[in-house]
Amino acid sequence: MAEAEYTTTAKLPIETIWEFVKDVDHWADFVSGYQSHEKENDNDSIWTLKGDVGVLARVLTFRVHVTEWAGPERVSFELVGLNEPMRGDGEFVMKPYRERAGERATDSSRSTPQKSRLLRFLEAMIRVFLGRGGRARRADTADAEPGPGMTQLTFRLRIDPGGPMAPMVNALMKPVMLPAAEYLANKIVSHLEAAQGAKG
């Protein structure tokens, strides 16, 4: 089992982010490598993404099952690979950002030795899920000060690969995982901030 996590801040009230992430259809636009998804019901969907594994790219299909809609603070989900042996879970966590607390981003490769292997693997898995999008840096709010109307968005994912090659797959995906997590969270926030700006 491995995990990775990325937190960013948004000049947006928590409800705005919740309104967005509470529909899985909305996630699609911000997952790079996205090919298609099919919503079976509000809680279950099948996703097809193209993601990098070392020097090659593969199409991955998996089922996402939302286990908890705890608005406006959290969406939790589980996933199961359909064409590759893997299981995992993840969540979006939203929190009003009133005071600064610790590091903005958790870089898995810099965490404790015991955790780092897990986190390194997850880094890789995120990249596989999220494709080859690269980093999406948001200069405007990434280092924003806490204050009223600010929200922290955290994206977290844990994956357990299966099969004899799991440790290799793990290592192959490591270098690209955290950037891809950043990409997803930052893209969602930029999109919502731009929409808010356009309205306001």
Partner: protein
């Protein structure tokens, strides 16, 4: 062909075009002999096909086997190459190649820091059937390379190839049971090596060369800078017109240009025209567009050929959705040589020793003059549940669902044949004939398992005959195979004993050299042996580098 520009963007002594083994070997040697060198590369990464491939170098009687006490002789090596050539080699070129290959690889060890390893126990393709063939030691690979020592070049090279699990040495691969037992390899160790960027196979070998050239010798390399034309003056090549950031980039070569840009693997039109095939795909990185033929042809260079019949063409497949460098990734299929798998033609008949690609490649090209057909094309891989319980298909491990777009499945051979569009009676007859002796590890029709190389490469050592087992456990599976080239083409520029390109009128073109796959395989003739492509790229690069430096 371009005329002399009003001004040059860059001036140097030697322009090495491409960044595979041929170009980098020439660059290292010319630099060591005091010349300024510039490398121009079309791709966004350095290393060419070797940086993406297997990385075996075949050198008879090499110093590493001698260090291990393995006996060999130059004469035996020569005999073997003469056999491989089938009479189609130019004797002078072959002699030059074989007389220089040991010097070239020893030079690269002593001067460029390449840490060669003799691969013990991997026989020559034709051992023990042919005089001069050896039981093991002629192949060289390299010690693991630490990618972090590449500095700025670490991200400008491929850390691994999509074709072979990374971070593994030959001896480990064999100790872990070989390709047939890939599910049992030490993936903890492999994962650790990937995290540490410990490179092996072609990417490891190429990294030694890139470090020697770009880091230790500080030879400038321009990536994403394809050469479009040779610049000539009075019949001599004096530079190139490349393209860089959307603009012309003229580079003067005071002593000459060495073209080491591979062949035409990704130029389907040229490939179909020259290789006498009806379809074509490549396992190489997608930058080999036949520019050697175009640019050389443009200034009157002679194009030469060897028979395409038995070079290094494989059959394989693309797993739907799998890509490398933004293009579909084609993998050579090794599955046909493993127990419980066969390869059949449209009539549902076996036609070769499936474990030995030297046999199947040649027979695939057979031509029926009465029906005007190539009866064995396209071939189909057939296997059963015995196979599926034990062995992977590409990266699909036993137990994993196989992609329906690639693999047909049925409960009987007849139903499978119908789905695949091959003759059902024929497939039933084939299995009825193959299975009884296969249960005893025998293949009276094609002698599968009789080539030591095939057994080493794909055999499952837990079987009486490591390459043979019956197909008798349903369900049955079928995969339509397509050609997969590894860049070793039958046509190229005609070169002489100095590596210099020969004009259609017979004279050497001043200032113009071609090495590696850009040069026709007249030094090898009509056959191929793994490692001889890399060997000839290094050797002719070494020869051309000396010539260009004026120290030939």
């Amino acid at each position: 062909m371009a005329g002399k520009p009003t001004s040059w963007d860059l001036e140097t002594d030697v322009v090495a075009v491409g960044s595979g083994l041929g170009a980098i070997s020439a660059a290292i040697v010319a630099r060591d002999l005091g010349r300024d060198v510039v490398v121009l590369e079309k791709a966004p990464k350095l290393g060419g096909v070797c940086g993406y491939g297997g990385g075996e170098v075949f050198v008879p009687n090499n110093h590493k086997m001698r260090e291990l006490g393995i006996e060999d002789s130059d004469e035996a090596g020569r005999k073997y190459f003469e056999f491989l050539s089938a009479g189609f080699a130019d004797p002078e070129l072959m002699d030059t190649l074989l007389s220089n290959c040991k010097d070239a690889i020893e030079y690269m060890e002593q001067k460029a820091g390449v840490r060669w390893l003799a691969v013990e126990g991997l026989p020559d393709y034709y051992f023990p059937k042919v005089e001069g063939a050896h039981s093991g030691g002629r192949y060289l690979s390299v010690e693991l390379f630490d990618g972090s020592t590449l500095g700025a070049m670490q991200d400008k090279t491929w850390p691994m190839t999509p074709h072979i699990p990374p971070g593994v040495l030959h001896r480990e691969m064999y100790a872990w049971g070989g390709l047939a037992r890939v599910t049992e390899w030490d993936y903890e160790l492999i994962g650790k090596r990937i995290s540490e960027d410990q490179r092996s196979f072609g990417p490891g070998m190429m990294a030694y060369f890139i470090k020697a050239a770009m880091i230790d010798r500080e030879i400038p390399a321009y990536l994403e800078t394809p050469v479009r034309e040779l610049v000539t003056e009075d019949g001599s090549v004096i530079g190139v017109r490349a393209e860089r950031e959307g603009r012309d980039f003229f580079v003067r070569a005071r002593r000459g240009v060495v073209l080491a840009i591979g062949g035409y693997d990704h130029n389907k039109e040229l490939a179909l025209q020259y290789e006498a095939m009806l379809d074509w795909n490549s396992a190489c990185p997608p930058y080999l567009d036949g520019d050697n033929i175009v640019m050389g042809g443009e200034i009157g260079a002679a194009i030469a050929a060897v028979p395409p019949t038995n070079l290094a063409m494989f059959y394989g497949y693309n797993i739907p959705g799998e890509e490398a460098e933004g293009k579909p990734l084609f993998r050579a299929s090794w599955e046909c040589g493993v127990p419980h798998a066969i390869r059949v033609n449209r009539k549902g008949e076996r036609f070769c020793d499936e474990a030995t690609y030297k046999d199947y490649q040649a027979r695939l090209r057979s031509w029926d003059g009465q029906t005007q057909q190539m009866p064995n094309i396209p071939p189909t891989l057939i296997f059963d549940q015995n196979y599926r319980d034990r062995y992977p298909l590409g990266s699909y491990m036993p137990g994993q669902e196989l992609p329906k777009e690639l693999v047909e499945t049925a409960d009987t051979p007849r139903a499978l044949a119908e789905k695949l569009g091959i003759d059902a009676d024929g497939l039933e007859r084939t299995l009825a004939r193959f299975n009884p002796p296969a249960k005893n590890g025998e293949d009276p029709d094609f002698g599968r398992g009789s080539f030591a190389w095939s057994v080493r490469l794909v055999g499952d050592m837990s079987y009486k005959n490591p390459c043979v087992g019956p197909l008798d456990k349903p369900p049955y599976y079928g995969v339509r195979l397509v050609p997969v080239s590894v860049g070793i083409n039958s046509h190229g520029l005609k070169t002489d004993v100095n590596g210099q390109v020969v004009h259609q009128r017979g004279h050497a073109i001043p200032g113009f050299y071609a090495v590696g796959n850009s040069a026709a395989l007249r030094d090898l003739g009509g056959g191929y042996q793994s490692g001889s492509s890399n060997m000839r790229a290094i050797t002719w690069g070494y020869i051309a580098g000396r010539q260009l430096a004026g120290k030939g």
